[in-house]
Symmetry: C2
DNA sequence: TTGCGTGCAAAGGTTTTGCATGGCA
DNA sequence: TGCCATGCAAAACCTTTGCACGCAA
């Protein structure tokens, strides 16, 4: 059963950070560094523990952007239900930009996948890889 | 410039493995284990080195399925150009199954993303996360 | 006082890298 | 002979886990 959740300083700190950065991406390191600058301490383990729990609850989304860099998290609001404002993520393989995209066409894909293939897409975790408009313009010769 | 590429045993071994398993997924460990059973030796570093190069050339696709398990690779054929037979990958978050899906609707998304947002989707790297039909049937209560 | 929450450090896993050796041309 | 390719082991990286201590209730 749900244990009594203590109200601790770290939890408050993390929640305040989440609200500040709502909708933006951050890593665990970002969180720790942010508070280190303010002379507050919050250990990585603690951040991981909270974030993992919140991912399970759906209020935070976790994205594996690249296998070798830290995972990206994103706050989706306390009462965020997944259907609320689903958006997708486009990751540019050239410049590394992560684009938020709210697009009906993509939502249609979600429906299509479900109806035709019985597959229930999870937009909270899916990342589209490719090359963004800006990078395509630049001939694309550079790495 | 392109250096003279030597013809080595390891390269042959890897290529033969790729052709055998064409279209299937494998990890670096799979490759090494496969040859270890046949008393052939091919080190992980070598496999990573070749695979990374081939990913760059487009003949092998690399998927980050889960941040904590090994990366999945897939051979796409020597002369595989990306337009040839693009298919997408659906990863079930419940049972872990990786589904290959060749679907015109999804190809339409690719076009849509390109036309409306200038984003050139890379199907070789994109993985759709969600829940597969089988797992949805099973009430979905289990982890 | 009870026992959850925390931080530190160690462990765990995959992938990369350095370096000496081996093998292709 | 020259130099690319290889394998081993160590390093690097992110994330998880064990454990003792601190703090909320």
């Amino acid at each position: 059963m749900a244990r009594t959740a203590y109200r601790t300083k770290q939890k408050e700190l993390l929640l305040s950070y989440l609200k500040e950065t709502g909708g933006q991406h951050f890593t665990v390191e970002d969180v720790c560094a942010h508070f280190a600058k303010e002379d507050e301490t919050i250990g990585v383990a603690t951040v991981y523990r909270y974030l993992d729990k919140m991912v399970g609850e759906g209020s935070v989304a976790k994205y594996v952007i690249d296998e070798h860099s830290a995972a990206c998290f994103e706050y989706r609001g306390e009462s965020a239900c997944m259907e609320a404002a689903p958006h997708f993520h486009l990751k540019c393989e050239k410049c590394g930009t992560l684009i938020h995209l709210q697009c009906d066409e993509l939502s249609a894909v979600q429906t299509k996948l479900f109806e035709d293939h019985g597959f229930e897409l999870n937009p909270m975790r899916t990342v589209f890889y490719g090359v963004c408009a800006d990078c395509r313009k630049k001939t694309g010769t550079e790495e």
